[in-house]
Protein backbone atom coordinates (compact mmCIF):
# COMPACT_ATOMS: atom_id res chain seq x y z
CA UNK A 1 0.00 0.00 0.00
CA UNK A 2 1.31 3.43 -0.91
CA UNK A 3 -0.54 6.75 -0.56
CA UNK A 4 0.42 10.40 -0.61
CA UNK A 5 -0.83 12.89 1.99
CA UNK A 6 0.56 16.42 1.92
CA UNK A 7 4.29 16.02 1.28
CA UNK A 8 4.43 12.60 2.99
CA UNK A 9 4.45 9.29 1.21
CA UNK A 10 2.89 6.59 3.40
CA UNK A 11 3.61 2.89 2.98
CA UNK A 12 2.83 -0.09 5.15
CA UNK A 13 5.73 -2.20 6.36
CA UNK A 14 4.35 -5.71 6.52
CA UNK A 15 1.25 -6.23 8.63
CA UNK A 16 2.34 -4.34 11.74
CA UNK A 17 4.01 -1.05 10.77
CA UNK A 18 3.43 2.19 8.85
CA UNK A 19 6.18 4.38 7.38
CA UNK A 20 5.81 8.10 6.76
CA UNK A 21 8.53 9.37 4.44
CA UNK A 22 9.68 12.66 3.00
CA UNK A 23 12.24 13.17 0.20
CA UNK A 24 15.13 10.73 0.69
CA UNK A 25 18.01 12.99 1.63
CA UNK A 26 20.05 14.13 4.61
CA UNK A 27 18.56 17.53 5.18
CA UNK A 28 18.00 19.66 8.26
CA UNK A 29 14.46 20.71 7.36
CA UNK A 30 13.46 17.13 6.61
CA UNK A 31 14.85 15.59 9.79
CA UNK A 32 13.34 18.43 11.86
CA UNK A 33 9.91 17.76 10.38
CA UNK A 34 10.30 14.01 11.02
CA UNK A 35 11.39 14.72 14.61
CA UNK A 36 8.42 17.03 15.17
CA UNK A 37 5.99 14.44 13.78
CA UNK A 38 7.61 11.79 15.96
CA UNK A 39 7.14 13.90 19.10
CA UNK A 40 3.58 14.68 18.04
CA UNK A 41 2.60 11.02 17.53
CA UNK A 42 4.16 10.09 20.88
CA UNK A 43 2.36 12.90 22.68
CA UNK A 44 -0.97 11.42 21.55
CA UNK A 45 -0.38 8.14 23.46
CA UNK A 46 -2.32 6.22 20.84
CA UNK A 47 -3.56 2.80 21.97
CA UNK A 48 -1.66 -0.07 20.38
CA UNK A 49 1.35 1.88 19.10
CA UNK A 50 4.46 0.01 20.26
CA UNK A 51 7.29 2.07 18.79
CA UNK A 52 7.79 5.39 17.01
CA UNK A 53 11.14 5.42 15.20
CA UNK A 54 12.50 8.50 13.40
CA UNK A 55 15.45 8.06 11.04
CA UNK A 56 16.62 10.59 8.43
CA UNK A 57 13.57 11.16 6.19
CA UNK A 58 11.28 8.48 7.65
CA UNK A 59 9.11 7.93 10.69
CA UNK A 60 8.11 4.33 11.31
CA UNK A 61 5.24 3.39 13.59
CA UNK A 62 5.18 -0.19 14.86
CA UNK A 63 1.76 -1.28 16.07
CA UNK A 64 0.03 -4.21 17.72
CA UNK A 65 -2.43 -5.72 15.21
CA UNK A 66 -5.00 -6.59 17.84
CA UNK A 67 -4.79 -3.36 19.85
CA UNK A 68 -4.26 -0.72 17.15
CA UNK A 69 -6.64 -2.04 14.51
CA UNK A 70 -10.37 -2.62 14.77
CA UNK A 71 -11.75 -5.99 13.85
CA UNK A 72 -14.09 -6.36 10.86
CA UNK A 73 -12.92 -3.19 9.17
CA UNK A 74 -10.56 -2.93 6.21
CA UNK A 75 -6.96 -2.51 7.37
CA UNK A 76 -6.07 -0.24 4.47
CA UNK A 77 -9.04 2.03 5.22
CA UNK A 78 -7.93 2.23 8.85
CA UNK A 79 -4.34 3.03 7.92
CA UNK A 80 -5.47 5.74 5.48
CA UNK A 81 -7.84 7.21 8.06
CA UNK A 82 -5.19 7.15 10.78
CA UNK A 83 -2.61 8.78 8.50
CA UNK A 84 -5.00 11.50 7.38
CA UNK A 85 -6.05 12.31 10.92
CA UNK A 86 -2.57 12.34 12.39
CA UNK A 87 -1.13 14.52 9.60
CA UNK A 88 -4.04 16.97 9.65
CA UNK A 89 -3.85 17.31 13.42
CA UNK A 90 -0.09 17.66 13.16
CA UNK A 91 -0.45 20.49 10.66
CA UNK A 92 -3.10 22.29 12.68
CA UNK A 93 -1.64 21.84 16.12
CA UNK A 94 2.05 22.18 15.33
CA UNK A 95 1.52 25.74 14.07
CA UNK A 96 0.37 26.59 17.59
CA UNK A 97 3.40 24.97 19.14
CA UNK A 98 6.32 27.35 19.11
CA UNK A 99 9.24 25.55 17.52
CA UNK A 100 11.85 25.58 20.22
CA UNK A 101 15.34 26.00 18.90
CA UNK A 102 17.35 23.05 20.12
CA UNK A 103 20.25 23.89 22.35
CA UNK A 104 23.57 22.72 21.02
CA UNK A 105 25.03 19.79 22.95
CA UNK A 106 28.77 20.39 23.31
CA UNK A 107 30.59 17.09 23.28
CA UNK A 108 34.22 16.81 24.46
CA UNK A 109 36.51 14.77 22.22
CA UNK A 110 40.15 13.89 22.73
CA UNK A 111 41.70 13.80 19.26
CA UNK A 112 45.02 12.47 20.57
CA UNK A 113 46.42 9.87 18.12
CA UNK A 114 46.24 7.19 20.83
CA UNK A 115 42.45 7.46 20.43
CA UNK A 116 42.21 8.90 16.91
CA UNK A 117 43.80 5.86 15.33
CA UNK A 118 42.88 6.80 11.75
CA UNK A 119 43.76 10.47 12.07
CA UNK A 120 47.27 10.14 10.65
CA UNK A 121 46.17 8.10 7.61
CA UNK A 122 43.34 10.52 6.99
CA UNK A 123 45.76 13.44 7.22
CA UNK A 124 48.07 11.83 4.68
CA UNK A 125 45.27 10.84 2.32
CA UNK A 126 43.67 14.29 2.35
CA UNK A 127 46.91 16.21 2.63
CA UNK A 128 45.48 18.19 5.53
CA UNK A 129 47.28 18.40 8.88
CA UNK A 130 45.78 16.44 11.77
CA UNK A 131 45.28 19.70 13.61
CA UNK A 132 43.31 21.13 10.73
CA UNK A 133 41.14 17.99 10.50
CA UNK A 134 40.32 18.49 14.18
CA UNK A 135 39.37 22.11 13.70
CA UNK A 136 37.26 21.29 10.63
CA UNK A 137 35.53 18.44 12.47
CA UNK A 138 34.80 20.54 15.55
CA UNK A 139 33.71 23.67 13.67
CA UNK A 140 30.42 22.32 12.33
CA UNK A 141 27.18 22.06 14.27
CA UNK A 142 25.91 18.62 13.43
CA UNK A 143 22.42 17.29 13.49
CA UNK A 144 21.54 13.81 14.79
CA UNK A 145 19.85 12.05 11.84
CA UNK A 146 19.44 8.57 13.23
CA UNK A 147 20.10 6.29 16.19
CA UNK A 148 20.60 2.59 15.77
CA UNK A 149 22.99 -0.17 14.69
CA UNK A 150 23.83 -0.41 18.40
CA UNK A 151 21.74 0.99 21.25
CA UNK A 152 22.65 4.68 21.33
CA UNK A 153 24.87 4.71 18.21
CA UNK A 154 24.52 8.26 16.92
CA UNK A 155 24.55 9.15 13.21
CA UNK A 156 25.29 12.82 12.64
CA UNK A 157 25.94 15.07 9.67
CA UNK A 158 26.90 16.69 7.55
CA UNK A 159 30.71 16.37 7.64
CA UNK A 160 32.72 19.04 5.77
CA UNK A 161 33.52 17.80 2.27
CA UNK A 162 37.24 18.32 2.90
CA UNK A 163 37.38 15.51 5.46
CA UNK A 164 34.66 13.17 4.17
CA UNK A 165 36.08 9.70 3.80
CA UNK A 166 34.50 6.27 3.24
CA UNK A 167 34.38 3.44 5.79
CA UNK A 168 37.25 0.97 5.97
CA UNK A 169 36.81 -1.84 3.43
CA UNK A 170 37.24 -4.32 6.22
CA UNK A 171 35.67 -3.42 9.58
CA UNK A 172 37.84 -3.51 12.70
CA UNK A 173 37.12 -6.35 15.10
CA UNK A 174 36.84 -4.00 18.03
CA UNK A 175 36.23 -0.27 18.12
CA UNK A 176 36.36 1.12 21.66
CA UNK A 177 33.34 2.74 23.34
CA UNK A 178 33.29 6.51 22.91
CA UNK A 179 35.21 6.40 19.62
CA UNK A 180 34.27 9.22 17.26
CA UNK A 181 34.41 8.33 13.58
CA UNK A 182 33.71 9.50 10.07
CA UNK A 183 31.90 7.54 7.37
CA UNK A 184 31.29 9.49 4.17
CA UNK A 185 29.31 12.58 5.03
CA UNK A 186 28.42 11.29 8.49
CA UNK A 187 30.16 11.39 11.83
CA UNK A 188 29.18 9.17 14.73
CA UNK A 189 29.95 7.93 18.23
CA UNK A 190 30.28 4.28 19.25
CA UNK A 191 28.27 3.71 22.46
CA UNK A 192 30.09 0.50 23.38
CA UNK A 193 32.94 -1.70 22.23
CA UNK A 194 31.94 -3.18 18.90
CA UNK A 195 33.17 -4.29 15.50
CA UNK A 196 33.02 -1.29 13.17
CA UNK A 197 34.30 0.25 9.95
CA UNK A 198 34.24 3.99 10.60
CA UNK A 199 37.42 6.10 10.36
CA UNK A 200 38.24 6.81 13.99
CA UNK A 201 39.56 10.31 14.70
CA UNK A 202 39.09 10.66 18.47
CA UNK A 203 37.26 9.53 21.58
CA UNK A 204 34.73 11.19 23.86
CA UNK A 205 35.00 10.56 27.60
CA UNK A 206 31.19 10.61 27.72
CA UNK A 207 29.27 7.40 28.13
CA UNK A 208 26.56 8.00 25.52
CA UNK A 209 24.42 4.98 26.38
CA UNK A 210 23.49 3.95 29.89
CA UNK A 211 21.31 1.01 30.85
CA UNK A 212 19.61 2.96 33.65
CA UNK A 213 15.97 3.24 32.74
CA UNK A 214 15.80 7.00 33.19
CA UNK A 215 18.98 7.73 31.23
CA UNK A 216 19.45 5.38 28.24
CA UNK A 217 20.72 7.35 25.23
CA UNK A 218 22.41 10.73 25.61
CA UNK A 219 21.16 11.92 22.20
CA UNK A 220 17.95 11.77 20.25
CA UNK A 221 17.20 12.27 16.57
CA UNK A 222 17.01 15.98 15.79
CA UNK A 223 19.53 17.05 18.47
CA UNK A 224 22.24 19.55 17.56
CA UNK A 225 25.78 18.54 18.45
CA UNK A 226 29.14 20.27 18.34
CA UNK A 227 32.44 18.69 19.31
CA UNK A 228 35.23 20.48 21.17
CA UNK A 229 38.79 19.29 21.58
CA UNK A 230 40.18 18.26 24.97
CA UNK A 231 43.58 16.85 25.85
CA UNK A 232 44.42 13.48 27.37
CA UNK A 233 44.58 14.86 30.92
CA UNK A 234 41.10 16.37 30.62
CA UNK A 235 39.87 13.13 29.03
CA UNK A 236 41.08 11.12 32.01
CA UNK A 237 39.39 13.50 34.41
CA UNK A 238 36.07 13.37 32.54
CA UNK A 239 36.21 9.69 31.64
CA UNK A 240 32.85 8.02 32.25
CA UNK A 241 33.71 4.71 30.59
CA UNK A 242 34.19 1.66 32.76
CA UNK A 243 37.89 1.08 32.79
Amino acid sequence: MKIKIQDFEIVTLGDHAIVFSLAAKMDTKIVQKITALSAFVKSKNIHGILDVIPSYHTLTIIYSITKFLHKNKSVIEQVVEFSNTILNDFNNESTNIKTTQNTIIKVPVCYDPIFGIDLENLSNAKNISAQEIVSIHSAIIYEVYSIGFLPGFTYMGIVDEKIQTPRHDKPRMNVIAGSVGIAGLQTGIYPCNSPGGWQIIGRTPWNIFNKSENILAKFKVGDLVQFYAIDKIEFDKMNEHNL
Binding site: G14, D15, L50, D51, G148, G152, K220
Partner: protein
Protein backbone atom coordinates in the same frame (compact mmCIF):
# COMPACT_ATOMS: atom_id res chain seq x y z
CA UNK B 1 13.82 -21.25 45.10
CA UNK B 2 15.49 -21.15 41.74
CA UNK B 3 16.38 -22.84 38.50
CA UNK B 4 20.07 -23.18 37.82
CA UNK B 5 21.77 -23.64 34.47
CA UNK B 6 24.52 -26.17 35.12
CA UNK B 7 25.70 -26.42 31.52
CA UNK B 8 25.17 -23.55 29.13
CA UNK B 9 23.66 -24.23 25.69
CA UNK B 10 24.86 -22.65 22.48
CA UNK B 11 22.18 -20.03 22.11
CA UNK B 12 19.65 -20.11 24.92
CA UNK B 13 17.90 -17.16 26.47
CA UNK B 14 14.90 -15.97 28.40
CA UNK B 15 12.23 -14.33 26.25
CA UNK B 16 8.81 -12.77 26.51
CA UNK B 17 6.76 -10.82 23.95
CA UNK B 18 9.67 -8.38 23.64
CA UNK B 19 10.84 -4.98 24.75
CA UNK B 20 8.92 -2.43 22.68
CA UNK B 21 8.99 1.33 23.11
CA UNK B 22 12.76 1.84 22.91
CA UNK B 23 13.62 1.29 19.26
CA UNK B 24 14.06 5.06 18.80
CA UNK B 25 17.20 4.82 20.97
CA UNK B 26 18.38 1.72 19.12
CA UNK B 27 17.28 -0.97 21.56
CA UNK B 28 16.05 -3.98 19.61
CA UNK B 29 12.76 -5.52 20.72
CA UNK B 30 14.00 -9.14 20.98
CA UNK B 31 11.22 -11.47 22.21
CA UNK B 32 10.03 -14.98 21.32
CA UNK B 33 11.13 -16.28 17.89
CA UNK B 34 8.14 -18.66 17.73
CA UNK B 35 5.66 -16.67 19.77
CA UNK B 36 2.85 -19.15 19.13
CA UNK B 37 4.68 -22.09 20.76
CA UNK B 38 5.77 -19.85 23.64
CA UNK B 39 2.19 -18.67 24.19
CA UNK B 40 1.07 -22.28 24.11
CA UNK B 41 3.52 -23.30 26.85
CA UNK B 42 2.25 -20.47 29.04
CA UNK B 43 -1.38 -21.21 28.21
CA UNK B 44 -1.00 -24.86 29.18
CA UNK B 45 0.31 -23.74 32.58
CA UNK B 46 -2.33 -21.07 33.04
CA UNK B 47 0.33 -18.34 32.94
CA UNK B 48 0.02 -14.96 31.30
CA UNK B 49 0.79 -15.45 27.57
CA UNK B 50 3.63 -12.95 27.93
CA UNK B 51 5.28 -14.79 30.84
CA UNK B 52 9.04 -15.16 30.37
CA UNK B 53 10.11 -18.63 29.20
CA UNK B 54 13.40 -20.32 28.41
CA UNK B 55 14.03 -20.38 24.66
CA UNK B 56 16.38 -23.21 23.73
CA UNK B 57 18.35 -24.19 20.64
CA UNK B 58 20.14 -27.50 20.24
CA UNK B 59 22.49 -28.36 21.94
CA UNK B 60 20.55 -26.90 24.85
CA UNK B 61 21.43 -25.92 28.37
CA UNK B 62 21.02 -28.36 31.25
CA UNK B 63 18.83 -27.24 34.11
CA UNK B 64 18.84 -28.08 37.78
CA UNK B 65 15.64 -27.36 39.70
CA UNK B 66 16.42 -26.23 43.21
CA UNK B 67 12.83 -26.59 44.36
CA UNK B 68 9.54 -28.06 43.12
CA UNK B 69 8.06 -26.53 39.98
CA UNK B 70 5.47 -27.21 37.32
CA UNK B 71 6.90 -26.76 33.83
CA UNK B 72 5.76 -27.24 30.24
CA UNK B 73 7.82 -27.86 27.10
CA UNK B 74 6.58 -26.82 23.62
CA UNK B 75 7.98 -25.97 20.20
CA UNK B 76 10.82 -28.04 18.81
CA UNK B 77 11.11 -31.66 19.90
CA UNK B 78 14.65 -32.15 21.20
CA UNK B 79 13.72 -35.27 23.22
CA UNK B 80 13.54 -33.76 26.70
CA UNK B 81 14.53 -35.95 29.65
CA UNK B 82 14.26 -35.36 33.38
CA UNK B 83 16.76 -37.40 35.36
CA UNK B 84 17.28 -39.44 32.18
CA UNK B 85 13.58 -40.33 31.92
CA UNK B 86 11.85 -38.98 28.85
CA UNK B 87 8.98 -36.53 29.35
CA UNK B 88 6.14 -35.40 27.10
CA UNK B 89 5.78 -32.11 25.31
CA UNK B 90 2.59 -30.03 25.60
CA UNK B 91 1.77 -31.31 29.10
CA UNK B 92 2.30 -29.85 32.56
CA UNK B 93 5.23 -31.69 34.15
CA UNK B 94 5.86 -31.80 37.89
CA UNK B 95 9.52 -31.47 38.73
CA UNK B 96 10.98 -31.95 42.17
CA UNK B 97 13.88 -30.41 43.97
CA UNK B 98 17.21 -31.59 42.48
CA UNK B 99 15.63 -32.86 39.26
CA UNK B 100 17.66 -32.25 36.14
CA UNK B 101 16.27 -31.39 32.71
CA UNK B 102 18.25 -31.93 29.54
CA UNK B 103 17.52 -32.50 25.85
CA UNK B 104 19.03 -35.35 23.83
CA UNK B 105 18.40 -34.98 20.14
CA UNK B 106 16.95 -32.44 17.69
CA UNK B 107 14.14 -34.41 16.06
CA UNK B 108 11.85 -31.68 14.87
CA UNK B 109 12.01 -27.90 14.73
CA UNK B 110 14.63 -25.35 15.67
CA UNK B 111 13.43 -23.60 18.80
CA UNK B 112 12.10 -25.17 21.99
CA UNK B 113 10.32 -23.45 24.87
CA UNK B 114 10.32 -24.33 28.54
CA UNK B 115 7.74 -22.41 30.54
CA UNK B 116 7.64 -22.38 34.32
CA UNK B 117 4.47 -21.96 36.32
CA UNK B 118 5.21 -18.89 38.37
CA UNK B 119 6.80 -15.50 38.04
CA UNK B 120 10.40 -14.71 37.22
CA UNK B 121 11.88 -12.40 39.86
CA UNK B 122 14.31 -9.49 39.76
CA UNK B 123 15.12 -9.71 36.13
CA UNK B 124 13.13 -7.18 34.17
CA UNK B 125 14.77 -4.35 32.23
CA UNK B 126 12.62 -1.70 30.55
CA UNK B 127 9.45 -3.66 31.35
CA UNK B 128 10.60 -6.86 29.69
CA UNK B 129 12.49 -9.99 30.69
CA UNK B 130 13.75 -10.70 27.17
CA UNK B 131 17.48 -11.15 26.92
CA UNK B 132 19.34 -8.61 24.90
CA UNK B 133 22.98 -7.87 24.43
CA UNK B 134 22.61 -5.15 27.05
CA UNK B 135 21.76 -7.66 29.72
CA UNK B 136 24.85 -9.43 30.80
CA UNK B 137 24.18 -12.45 32.91
CA UNK B 138 25.70 -12.13 36.32
CA UNK B 139 25.00 -15.72 37.11
CA UNK B 140 23.11 -18.60 35.63
CA UNK B 141 20.42 -18.81 38.22
CA UNK B 142 16.85 -17.68 37.77
CA UNK B 143 14.40 -17.23 40.60
CA UNK B 144 10.80 -18.16 39.87
CA UNK B 145 8.06 -17.90 42.45
CA UNK B 146 7.31 -21.32 43.82
CA UNK B 147 4.21 -23.47 43.52
CA UNK B 148 1.81 -22.50 46.23
CA UNK B 149 0.21 -25.88 46.26
CA UNK B 150 1.59 -29.36 46.30
CA UNK B 151 -1.19 -30.87 44.19
CA UNK B 152 -0.10 -31.66 40.67
CA UNK B 153 -1.37 -29.06 38.25
CA UNK B 154 -4.12 -30.02 35.82
CA UNK B 155 -4.25 -27.90 32.72
CA UNK B 156 -7.65 -26.82 31.49
CA UNK B 157 -6.38 -26.13 27.98
CA UNK B 158 -8.49 -27.08 24.99
CA UNK B 159 -6.73 -30.02 23.29
CA UNK B 160 -7.82 -28.71 19.90
CA UNK B 161 -5.71 -25.59 20.42
CA UNK B 162 -2.62 -27.75 20.91
CA UNK B 163 -3.37 -29.63 17.69
CA UNK B 164 -4.08 -26.41 15.78
CA UNK B 165 -0.83 -24.86 16.94
CA UNK B 166 1.16 -27.97 16.00
CA UNK B 167 -0.35 -28.02 12.54
CA UNK B 168 0.35 -24.35 12.06
CA UNK B 169 3.90 -24.20 13.39
CA UNK B 170 5.26 -27.48 12.03
CA UNK B 171 3.80 -27.32 8.56
CA UNK B 172 6.96 -27.45 6.45
CA UNK B 173 5.22 -27.60 3.07
CA UNK B 174 3.03 -24.53 2.83
CA UNK B 175 4.64 -21.41 1.39
CA UNK B 176 5.83 -18.55 3.60
CA UNK B 177 3.53 -15.63 2.91
CA UNK B 178 4.88 -12.14 2.27
CA UNK B 179 3.63 -8.62 1.66
CA UNK B 180 5.58 -6.33 -0.74
CA UNK B 181 7.94 -3.88 0.97
CA UNK B 182 8.87 -0.31 0.02
CA UNK B 183 11.50 -1.38 -2.55
CA UNK B 184 9.37 -4.15 -4.13
CA UNK B 185 8.56 -2.02 -7.23
CA UNK B 186 12.30 -1.66 -7.92
CA UNK B 187 12.90 -5.43 -8.24
CA UNK B 188 13.63 -6.44 -11.83
CA UNK B 189 10.99 -8.59 -13.55
CA UNK B 190 13.17 -11.67 -13.52
CA UNK B 191 13.88 -11.13 -9.81
CA UNK B 192 10.16 -10.94 -9.06
CA UNK B 193 9.60 -14.18 -10.93
CA UNK B 194 12.54 -15.81 -9.17
CA UNK B 195 11.36 -14.67 -5.76
CA UNK B 196 7.87 -16.06 -6.18
CA UNK B 197 8.56 -19.17 -8.27
CA UNK B 198 11.86 -20.62 -7.05
CA UNK B 199 12.75 -22.29 -3.77
CA UNK B 200 14.88 -20.65 -1.09
CA UNK B 201 16.92 -22.48 1.54
CA UNK B 202 17.86 -21.56 5.11
CA UNK B 203 21.67 -21.38 5.28
CA UNK B 204 23.86 -22.06 8.32
CA UNK B 205 24.06 -18.26 8.76
CA UNK B 206 20.85 -18.22 10.78
CA UNK B 207 20.35 -17.05 14.33
CA UNK B 208 18.11 -14.87 16.45
CA UNK B 209 19.21 -11.76 14.51
CA UNK B 210 18.34 -13.06 11.08
CA UNK B 211 18.22 -15.99 8.66
CA UNK B 212 20.40 -15.73 5.56
CA UNK B 213 18.78 -17.46 2.60
CA UNK B 214 20.26 -19.18 -0.43
CA UNK B 215 18.34 -19.07 -3.70
CA UNK B 216 17.88 -17.04 -6.85
CA UNK B 217 20.01 -13.91 -6.76
CA UNK B 218 17.81 -10.83 -6.99
CA UNK B 219 18.53 -7.47 -8.60
CA UNK B 220 17.13 -3.98 -8.35
CA UNK B 221 16.61 -1.46 -11.11
CA UNK B 222 18.23 1.11 -8.79
CA UNK B 223 21.33 1.16 -6.59
CA UNK B 224 20.99 -0.87 -3.36
CA UNK B 225 21.94 2.00 -1.07
CA UNK B 226 19.35 3.74 1.07
CA UNK B 227 19.29 6.11 4.01
CA UNK B 228 18.66 3.81 6.96
CA UNK B 229 15.12 3.50 8.18
CA UNK B 230 13.38 1.25 10.67
CA UNK B 231 13.11 -2.46 9.96
CA UNK B 232 11.06 -5.00 11.85
CA UNK B 233 10.78 -8.73 12.47
CA UNK B 234 10.12 -10.49 9.17
CA UNK B 235 11.71 -7.82 6.97
CA UNK B 236 13.29 -9.25 3.80
CA UNK B 237 16.45 -7.27 3.24
CA UNK B 238 18.21 -7.61 -0.09
CA UNK B 239 21.98 -7.67 0.40
CA UNK B 240 24.33 -6.13 -2.21
CA UNK B 241 25.34 -9.64 -3.41
CA UNK B 242 21.72 -10.40 -4.37
CA UNK B 243 20.93 -12.69 -1.43
CA UNK B 244 18.10 -12.21 1.04
CA UNK B 245 18.38 -11.98 4.81
CA UNK B 246 15.18 -12.26 6.82
CA UNK B 247 15.38 -10.20 10.01
CA UNK B 248 14.31 -12.03 13.14
CA UNK B 249 13.60 -11.09 16.78
CA UNK B 250 17.05 -9.67 17.62
CA UNK B 251 17.20 -7.49 14.49
CA UNK B 252 18.88 -4.09 14.57
CA UNK B 253 16.39 -1.27 14.76
CA UNK B 254 17.36 0.40 11.45
CA UNK B 255 18.78 -0.83 8.18
CA UNK B 256 20.11 0.65 4.95
CA UNK B 257 19.62 -2.28 2.57
CA UNK B 258 16.67 -2.61 0.24
CA UNK B 259 13.52 -3.64 2.10
CA UNK B 260 11.80 -5.76 -0.55
CA UNK B 261 9.11 -7.42 1.54
CA UNK B 262 7.83 -8.67 4.86
CA UNK B 263 6.92 -12.12 6.10
CA UNK B 264 3.50 -11.83 7.68
CA UNK B 265 3.47 -12.08 11.46
CA UNK B 266 1.41 -15.28 11.62
CA UNK B 267 3.95 -17.14 9.45
CA UNK B 268 7.02 -16.05 11.45
CA UNK B 269 6.75 -18.79 14.11
CA UNK B 270 6.61 -21.46 11.38
CA UNK B 271 9.54 -19.82 9.58
CA UNK B 272 11.47 -19.56 12.87
CA UNK B 273 11.13 -23.34 13.32
CA UNK B 274 12.80 -24.08 9.94
CA UNK B 275 16.13 -25.81 10.41
CA UNK B 276 19.24 -25.00 8.41
CA UNK B 277 18.89 -26.59 4.97
CA UNK B 278 15.08 -26.38 4.94
CA UNK B 279 13.75 -25.28 1.53
CA UNK B 280 10.53 -23.39 1.01
CA UNK B 281 8.59 -21.09 -1.34
CA UNK B 282 7.43 -17.53 -0.83
CA UNK B 283 3.85 -16.63 -1.71
CA UNK B 284 2.32 -13.20 -2.05
CA UNK B 285 -0.58 -12.26 0.20
CA UNK B 286 -2.19 -8.99 1.24
CA UNK B 287 -2.57 -6.87 4.32
CA UNK B 288 -6.20 -7.77 5.00
CA UNK B 289 -5.52 -11.50 4.88
CA UNK B 290 -2.36 -11.18 7.01
CA UNK B 291 -4.20 -9.29 9.71
CA UNK B 292 -7.16 -11.68 9.72
CA UNK B 293 -4.90 -14.74 10.00
CA UNK B 294 -2.99 -13.22 12.92
CA UNK B 295 -6.19 -12.24 14.66
CA UNK B 296 -7.59 -15.75 14.23
CA UNK B 297 -4.70 -17.40 16.07
CA UNK B 298 -4.50 -14.65 18.67
CA UNK B 299 -8.17 -15.02 19.49
CA UNK B 300 -7.83 -18.77 19.95
CA UNK B 301 -5.54 -17.99 22.87
CA UNK B 302 -7.94 -15.55 24.48
CA UNK B 303 -10.41 -18.09 25.84
Amino acid sequence: MSIKIIKKGLSDSIQDNGRYGYQHVGIQPAGYMDFISAWLANKILGNDLNNPVFELHFPTSEFLFKSDYTICITGANFVPVINEKSVELFKPIQVNKNDMLTMLQPIEGRTCYVAIKGELKDYSWLESDSFSKQIILKDQEFIFSENDNTQSYVSNINKILIEDVQKLVFDHNSPIRIIPGPVWPQLTNSSLTGLLKNTFTITSQANRMGFNLMGTKLNLTIENNFLSSAVTRGTLQLLPNGDIIVLMADHQTIGGYANIGQIILVDLPRFAQFKNGQSFHFELTDLENANQLYRNIYEKFQH
